[in-house]
Amino acid sequence: MSRALLSRLSRAVSFALLLALSALFLIPFYLLVRNGLATDPEITAPNWTFVPHTLHASNITELFDDPTVPMTQALWNSTLIAVLTTAGTLLLASLAGYGLARIPYPHAPRVFYGIVATLMIPPAVTFVPSFVLVSSLGWISTLQGLIVPTLFSAIAVMLFRQYFLGFPGELEDAAALDGLGYWRTYWYVVVPNSKPIFAAVGALIFIGSWNSFLWPLVIGQDESSWTVQVVLSTFSTSETVDLHELFIAAAISIVPLLAVFVALQRHLVAGVNSAGMADWD
């Protein structure tokens, strides 16, 4: 067989393989929608039906009308937490990253090492100490308890610092000639010209916050402070499960993230790359 034919053949095989793998990767999403729009007898029927005979969109209203499932409150909590966490982290981390990268200060390297050192402590291991602190502040089951301790992301500071180190100095020089100090240069020149890094870090933080589970589980002890993840977990691990309601709830819970995903995928990929490789370059 000629080499050209062989390479064509192998390309066709790998295309078929990719199609099969894609189908496999999409099955969980399919199940989410299928079960979410079916009735419980249809889900539990011994014979598999690929598409429910009638799509029960009424499952959605049933979910929100069910007084035992605090779904509306949970969606509101998750939204508020994710938005405020993202905004707060971006503000704090970008300011710190800019200061570290651009404002000369003799002890800046020491400050930077102090920040990077916290990355060595796996965040999950600190949940007991953090719980201790938050509970002694009286912040259990409060919004500030769920948000404030998560605002100080060392990895976000590293990403911003890295980015600002490569920021073109000419822009800042021009701003200085116009008589702008650090503060106004930052807001009027640097931020408007750095949208991609804000989008990348913002998307990562938003997804991480919306999907986080251990911290909201530990801190959100009162039902009124449950996030979507805690609600889903509580009902999926309980004794009697209302399958169609649970699946439609789970499907609804990923809609905001799919929106972020579609809108920011390019930036997200860039963010994953810099976050994944930040420590090792």
């Binding site: 390479s7 295309f15 990719l18 793998l21 894609s22 990767f25 099955i27 969980p28 199940l31 989410l32 079960n35 598999w48 704090l92 981390a93 300011l95 710190a96 800019y98 200061g99 570290l100 404002i103 000369p104 200060y105 400050v111 102090g114 916290t118 060595m120 402590i121 796996p122 999950a124 291991v125 600190t126 949940f127 007991v128 100490p129 953090s130 201790v132 602190l133 002694s136 404030v148 301790p149 605002l151 100080f152 100090g181 503060w183 930052y186 999907n211 589970f213 251990l214 889903l232 999926s236 691990t237 004794e239 499960v241 649970l246 990923i254 993230l257 995903f261 990929v269 994944g276 490789m277």
Partner: protein, 297 residues
Amino acid sequence: MQRRHLWFWIFTGPFVIGLVVFSYVPLIWSLTLSFFDAHNTVTPKNFVGLANYAAVLKDPAFTASLGTFVLFTLFIVPATYALSLGLALLVHRQKFGRAFFQSVFFLPTACSYVVASLIWRLSIFNGVRFGLVNSVARAFGGSSVAWLSTTHPPLYWLVIVTVRLWLQAGFYMVLFLTGLTRMPTMLYEAAALDGAGPGWRSFRHITFPQLRTTSVAVLLLLTISAFQAFDEFYNLLSNSRGYPPYARPPLVYLYYAALGQGQDLGIGSAGAIVLALVIAVFTIVQARSFRLGEKHP
């Protein structure tokens, strides 16, 4: 000059103060608690020395949790590494539909462990007849299996590992894809002149060594994140009666020790400190061994 210093602190101060309050203070506080009898209290008076550490290390549940972590790491790290590298290689050489495939494999990154565990537990690996895997097995004449409660053989590992594999593979595929795109095409042209076409030989001698930095980063990240596993274990295995006695990773142990019925924050803190040390040692050893490999290729 003084003004500049002031500006430095105006920019970095808010973050640094927050980091001190919410990272350093809890850590030091926790270190203190680990030497006290701290049942249901965060301001204990009863100093117990190393008793909490002795209790944690003697607790068979704690040592079993370390064993669970090692076993889990042995499953998940090579599996995720191989799958994400494989996906990247397949997607990379594809001219047609590349963006589509990349998006499909990356999409699970948007899904939470809670949602994925729910799908796995209640639909794919549901132990009763209507579970997807059981339905497929029955179609081929097999019988239904209670995936999550079968301990001999430990079939629950299949469920636990595939959840994480599905969620993480796309993330690491992106890292590998970037590594592949950065690779100079010159190398392959030179290899082609030497008679090595695309295939196993050029992968073995060019692609793989060139992906070294990415590989090291991916393996370290995978190990660290395996150590932090909590969400899928909790959501797959716990129920209203509690958590089964098997497959308890370190964080699940810690969760029940510190925040369960006992609320023993002294034991919980000691456990957290021991785990922090374990992961530090693990990371250093892993990083060292990779660097050693660099000198002797």
